[in-house]
């Protein structure tokens, strides 16, 4: 039981870290200082739009992580250690954050300058959150299913 709690707390910490990163570092330290919004759009409005889509991107990632965890832990049957690889399914869960990232691309008004940073952050947050959380806190039977997990997961 303690194992699940630790995994979920770990996922929670990683997702919280990404929320903080998006809202306080990416938005306030980078975008607020560099972006020139399009005419007629005030910077706070534009940043609010970034914040909205960045947070939804991370939320989609967290949703994908939890789904992966639940399915991996209780949905898959493992008969033998060597048969536990479900990498393709793990990879398919990237679709969820990717959809939100694409929506973020579409609905964030194109800035005159440095708008590309927002798109970069959308990708980074959405994909990295899912990857790190699954690489570090997948169920034990599938702990090496995420790509290169064996290099970063030491427990």
């Amino acid at each position: 039981m303690i194992k699940y709690v630790v995994h979920f707390v770990g996922i929670l910490i990683i997702s919280a870290g990404f929320y903080l990163l998006a809202n306080l570092v990416e938005k306030d330290l980078f975008l607020e200082r560099l972006v020139i919004p399009p005419p007629g759009v005030k910077l706070p409005q534009w940043l609010d739009s970034f914040k909205f889509w960045a947070n939804w991107g991370i939320t989609a990632s967290v949703g994908a992580v939890l789904l992966w965890y639940l399915i991996a832990q209780w949905g898959f049957k493992v008969n033998h250690w060597s048969e536990s690889g479900k990498r393709v399914i793990w990879g398919l869960f990237f679709i969820l954050p990717v959809i939100v990232i694409i929506l973020g691309f579409v609905f964030t008004q194109q800035a005159q300058e440095s708008g590309w940073l927002a798109y970069l952050f959308y990708i980074l947050n959405g994909l990295a959150c899912y990857y790190l959380a699954t690489a570090l806190f997948s169920p034990s039977s599938f702990k090496y299913t995420p790509l290169w997990a064996e290099k970063i997961r030491r427990w």
Binding site: I13, L24, V25, P37, P39, G40, L43
Partner: protein, 445 residues
């Protein structure tokens, strides 16, 4: 099995990361720069709740020709509506009537109703000379909650339009009151006195079937701009023959003053528009705030919208003047005017109220916050030149011709009308230089 030391390490790293993020990003961004003052005199005052009207009827003999026992001339119909227009235009009102000419005499017990009869214009104390300036100099003229209506043919004694203009300027315009002038053509059969410097007199009879031959009389309406306009609307709704031969001279030509409200921002160069430079919680539509992101090619292009007030003189929006007040913010002394900041800023008018604002950040005197107050007014030559009063002006160079052939006298025109109106317009321009926009731009470098 997860080792406890790994968990501790993760928690420790997370706490450190959170601390770093909050400590670097949690700084306050508001700089507490004061917002611009709101100038309440920029906004048109609303119609008075309570009104006292003073109606002065010119009772000199020239006016007698407007009155006929047999039929209701436009003049008589207007006199009959003067009172009801006040009653319908204001919830609470009082009206006082006077007759004037050489002297001003109060009309009591509804004596003003006699103005539709010829005897009204035979009073010895009033019938000889027209001293409109005496009426304007009355203490209640252009005072709060009052409206003064002067019914006259504007044949001022000695044709002294300069005196009349000066009195109107001092008494009304300089105190922020408005002057409305309504010209109405009416059937006429009588003698016109005081024509020219020699005060010649000519008989004149209009043709009832040709309104172009009607002789004009005027209502000078003095009071708050909104009251003057409202009174005209009331008259117009009751008298079908009233055309738009009406003008208001006042400090207001647009209402409200144009701002960024409803403006379109077409281009922003090297600037990010923000909302947190000035310390105000509510949005002020006069203000735009920007952070300067670049050193060159910085500025914006915006088109302001304005609503010209009805009955004010139309102006050419391509002939505008701009006053810019540039200030730099100092945390100890607040905003102080700064000439270097002013030189870094310029405005081009691309079309109408489409402004191209250019800023040269490299010539600003250092980092900081700068405010630019921009006041836009029509220039003196922006006012369009063809008005109804040009057609109603009496050409005095024809006086010899009229003396030789009195039947050719142009009684459908008014002596010195054009100089009077032009003088009044100029006085209003010099006193107020009516504004059409007041906007503020704040830049943070």
């Amino acid at each position: 099995m997860i080792k406890t030391q790994h968990i501790n390490r993760i928690i420790l790293i997370s706490i450190c990361a959170c601390y770093l993020i909050f400590s670097t990003a949690g700084c306050s961004k508001r700089t507490n720069v004061p917002a611009p003052n709101s100038d309440t005199s920029d906004a048109l005052e609303s119609i008075s709740g309570q009104l006292t009207a003073y109606v002065y009827i010119d009772s000199t003999v020239s006016m007698e020709g407007f009155v006929r026992p047999s039929s209701a001339t436009n003049y008589i119909q207007t006199l009959q509506v003067i009172e009801s227009a006040i009653n319908t235009g204001w919830k609470t009102s009082q009206i006082h009537f006077f007759k004037f000419g050489t002297k001003i005499l109060p009309l009591k017990n509804r004596e003003h109703l006699k103005a539709v009869k010829k005897e009204f214009y035979q009073t010895p104390e009033t019938k000889i000379k027209t001293y409109i300036e005496k009426v304007i100099n009355e203490p209640k003229t252009c005072s709060n909650n009052s409206l003064t209506v002067i019914v006259t043919d504007l044949f001022q004694n000695d044709a002294d339009v300069s005196l009349l203009t000066n009195v109107l300027n001092e008494k009304c315009l300089k105190k922020n009151f408005a002057i409305g002038i309504l010209g109405i053509g009416s059937q006429y059969d009588g003698t016109v006195y005081d024509v020219g410097i020699q005060s010649y007199s000519f008989s004149y009879k209009s043709n009832d079937t040709d309104t172009k031959t009607f002789r004009p009389f005027y209502l000078l309406i003095l009071g708050k701009h909104a009251d003057v306009a409202n009174y005209f609307e009331q008259l117009k709704s009751n008298l079908s023959f009233i055309k738009d031969t009406f003008v208001i001279f006042s400090r207001y030509i647009v209402n409200p003053l144009a701002s960024f409200e409803g403006a379109s921002m077409e281009e922003i160069r090297g600037l990010a528009e923000v909302t947190n430079i000035i310390s105000t919680t509510s949005q002020d539509s006069r203000v735009k705030q920007f952070i300067i992101r670049k050193d060159s090619n910085v500025g914006f292009t915006a088109t302001l919208k304005y609503n010209q007030l009805p009955y004010t003189i139309p102006f050419d929006t391509k002939k505008l003047t701009t006053e810019v007040i540039a200030k730099q913010f100092d945390f100890n002394d607040g905003f102080k005017e700064n000439s270097d900041a002013k030189q870094s800023f310029n405005i081009e008018y691309l079309d109408s109220l489409k402004l191209k604002v250019n800023l040269t950040p490299t010539t600003l005197p250092g980092n900081g916050i700068y405010s630019y107050e921009i006041i836009i007014s029509p220039s003196k030559n922006a006012y369009k030149g063809t008005y109804w009063w040009n057609d109603w002006d009496m050409d005095l160079s024809r006086i010899d011709k009229w003396r030789r052939n009195p039947k050719s006298f142009e009684g459908s025109k008014t002596l010195n009308l054009k100089p009077f109106m032009n003088n009044l317009w100029q006085a209003n321009f010099l006193t107020h230089q009516p504004k059409i926009a007041r906007i503020y731009c704040y830049f943070k470098k």
